[in-house]
Amino acid sequence: MTVNGSAVTAEVADRTLLVHFLRDVAGLTATNIGCDTTSCGACTVLLDGQSVKSCTVLAAQAEGREVTTLEGLAAAGGEMHPVQQAFHAEHGLQCGFCTPGMVMAAVSLLAENPHPTEEQVRTGLEGNLCRCTGYHNIVRAVLAASGQAEGQDSQ
């Protein structure tokens, strides 16, 4: 498969999950595993441009396809993707563990709905759990990345 633009080829056990292929074979450890019931979304990557939970995709199912992980998001020169920049500007991360999956889910959300309402952002992130941020700044970050300002700071 192609991961972040580069071909990655390996022979792996049939039952290898895509998330393990990415972490252990491709060596891309940003994508994390947060659960075992396809609930938390920490493992979210893009498969042919669409967000998927890589813990519930076999590596074999992704063969011949294009996968994008957090590591592949920034521009070649290192400039962060607008979603990454927005997460930074809006303090959309604390411990960082949910962040790679959250960012990829946000990228996919905005690709399908470039100007979402707050409600659409919240619903669009229903498959991604975060325990640190309370989601408030994550939502701000996604709205900011879409070019829309949101809400207010402390008064």
Binding site: D14, R15, I33, D36, G41, T56, L58, S108, G127
Partner: protein
């Protein structure tokens, strides 16, 4: 977290898929989007020995207008159903319900066929195709056959499909009555329905009120004999055997069914 070991086979045509499944015998399962099957396998609640990946059968992913009915390929993802202009026009109930399944990532992978064959009575689409009086087309080693939705769901995780039979298409007659509604009652947005209701015209189907999706026959009879929607809704739980779990006991589910059927009928009528 990790499935037990299995042999993976990839099919490039429906015939090849059927052959590979036949070779695998009883312990072979088809793998579509994998979002019903893989979660079970990761918890080792399902341990098939062979997986036949049918995810590359592009010809099974489509939504087509066939005149009197819409033909939905079994491998059409929930996302594609939810965003299909054709479905939005002709079968908004299905389009809307597909958009409520799981979350965006699940909808990018999960398929209508996978969901129907998995036959979880708490899932959204089985009740929807029951309300829509769909016909399911299955192909097996012996050829093709059509199964009415009413005959498709046999029990908890059990369908009319024989081992090695592949669901290829769902044929949904264009509804005679335009009104529709889908009420999905959950604690959290990502949860399975505690109770759900799918309405198309005067057809009412229930999610998670039994071991299979069920038509609310008593409600439909009441409507047919001229009862007002509110009065008909009072019969929502008649004849059902609602499950009990940490989210609801039977009494609460029956109560929710009555309330949600009432709301769904009102919503449906406001659309017709």
């Amino acid at each position: 977290m990790i499935p037990a070991a299995f042999t993976y086979k990839r099919a490039w045509s429906v015939d090849e898929a059927l052959d590979l499944a036949a070779q695998g015998g009883e312990d072979a399962k088809f793998l579509a989007g994998g979002h019903s099957l893989l979660p079970l396998m990761k918890l080792r609640l399902a341990v098939p020995e062979t997986l036949v990946d049918i995810g590359r059968l592009a010809e099974l992913s489509s939504v087509r207008d066939e005149g009197s009915y819409i033909a939905v390929g079994a491998l059409t993802t929930h996302h594609d159903l939810a965003t299909s202009g054709l479905l939005g026009q002709e079968l908004p109930l299905l389009a809307h319900a597909a958009g409520e399944v799981g979350d965006p990532q699940v909808r990018h992978r999960g398929t209508i066929g996978g969901s129907l064959v998995h036959a979880d009575p708490a899932a959204d689409l089985p009740a929807v195709i029951l309300a829509l009086d769909a016909t399911l087309v299955a192909r097996g080693p012996g050829g093709s056959r059509e199964i009415a939705a009413a005959d498709f769901f046999h029990g908890l995780f059990e369908t009319a499909l024989a081992p090695g039979e592949l669901l290829t298409e769902i044929r949904i007659p264009k509804p005679a009555q335009a009104g529709w509604a889908f009420q999905k009652f959950t604690k959290r947005a990502i949860d399975w329905a505690i109770v759900g209701v799918a309405v198309q015209g005067d057809a009412v189907a229930l999610v998670n009120m039994g071991q299979t999706p069920v038509r609310a026959a008593a409600v439909e009879q009441a409507l047919a004999s001229g009862a007002a929607p509110d009065a008909a809704a009072a019969h929502a739980a008649d004849g059902t055997s609602a499950p009990e779990d940490i989210n609801a006991d039977r009494g609460y589910r029956e109560h929710l069914a009555r309330v949600l059927v009432g709301r769904a009928l009102a919503e449906s009528r406001s659309r017709s």
